[in-house]
Point group: C2
Chain length 198, copies 2
DNA sequence: CCCAAAACATGACAAATGTCATGCTCTTCG
DNA sequence: CGAAGAGCATGACATTTGTCATGTTTTGGG
């Protein structure tokens, strides 16, 4: 099996590559960021893409979406950091075959690769529970306002960008804050981003 | 040589361990968090501690400080994520022998271990430049106020905790914001934390 | 010792933020 | 149809926040 490993932190990537080369006889190619991975995906065909979500250039989710759009048979397995459980829904929408935490032991990774290869889907149970437990409570307007607020934009700027009154902006942000149990708009933005809801 | 590897993300830890076991003949022990690492350090003697900074329980810097305080001969090598360059000064104060980025290739890690074993100090050059370029502009009072603000505490709460007037708290935070080019207190807290200045 | 500079501290003020009561439109269900 | 309710939008209001001018204490030279 031919696997593409996309992960930006060189040390982590190198270590994982070494591990995978050691414990399996698959062919392994490495990519240092999302764009490099995409280029490789266009160029060659892989049986599996093993990718981080947060990378410079394209995110792992974008890669998965692209593959899905291409109707590529390449299976996608996402590895991500704990706490970004909000990504899981979007990942499933992109048709990924696996979703694992970097907190899981390496055996889980190896086992997951086996299962995915056999056509199964593997979702880390801890993560699945979290994802079911909390889902994105924000509506579209709130999300857009919150995203801008998170970028440091003021109420006035946001109101202009969204073509609504300042009061309305404050209203949306207030809603979002209350839904996210945040102390203020920026706190709310941070929480939402951390969950992958922005 | 007997090495203790402290890193909380199991997958990363497992992969690094596998790599190190493969590429060297050193004895390697793993710890899943700062507290476990400390317990092992108390119990056995190691030639080297290879540790992440941000971990549950004790941080890698705390481990380094403890070893320094014990006048232990154990060498410390820190591996950390890019962007937390602010940690480097504190790390040097704790007498660490090496400071590497997870962005560096694994060869760098192996090379660094060699050098440190030979008694040298290894600081990632990229990181060293960054650290020299920007140093923590916050003074102690500002840092303490900012830390509390980052936890979502209000001005009133902070003023009580620090035994100063609310106006003074706002003053410190305002100073910090201006020094960090932040739009508001929470933004400032985020920036400082990201640089490792909190 | 004495002065100047730095660090520390304060409250007045203006601006920004968050809350709330209210009104409007559109769907949906009896 | 008509009532109920969800979603969207607004501005008045009180609170919180950030800025600034100012005063006090500490520190380090001369």
């Amino acid at each position: 099996m031919k696997i593409l490993l996309a992960e930006d932190q060189a040390m982590v990537r190198g270590a994982l590559a070494s591990l995978l080369r050691l414990s399996s006889q698959h062919e392994l190619v490495e990519a240092a960021d999302g764009d490099a991975a995409l280029a490789l995906l266009k160029q060659q065909s892989f049986d599996m893409l093993l990718t981080d979500i947060e990378m410079p250039g394209r995110s792992g989710l974008e890669l998965a979406a692209w593959l899905q759009h291409q109707q590529s048979p390449t299976k996608v397995v996402i590895i991500t950091t704990f706490g970004r459980s909000g990504y899981i829904r979007r990942a499933l929408d992109c048709g990924v075959s696996g979703f694992l935490l970097k907190d899981a032991p390496v055996q889980d990774l190896l086992a997951a690769l086996e299962k995915v290869q056999a056509g199964k889907r593997v979702i880390d149970s801890e993560l699945a529970l979290l994802a079911l437990g909390e889902q994105d409570p924000l509506n579209d307007k709130e999300r857009r306002a919150l995203r801008l607020a998170g970028e440091g934009k003021s109420t006035a700027e946001i109101s202009q960008l969204l073509f609504i009154a300042e009061g309305t902006v404050r209203n949306y942000l207030s809603e979002a804050m209350s839904k996210l149990n945040a102390a203020n708009r920026i706190d709310a933005a941070r929480i939402a981003q951390q969950k992958g809801w922005l």
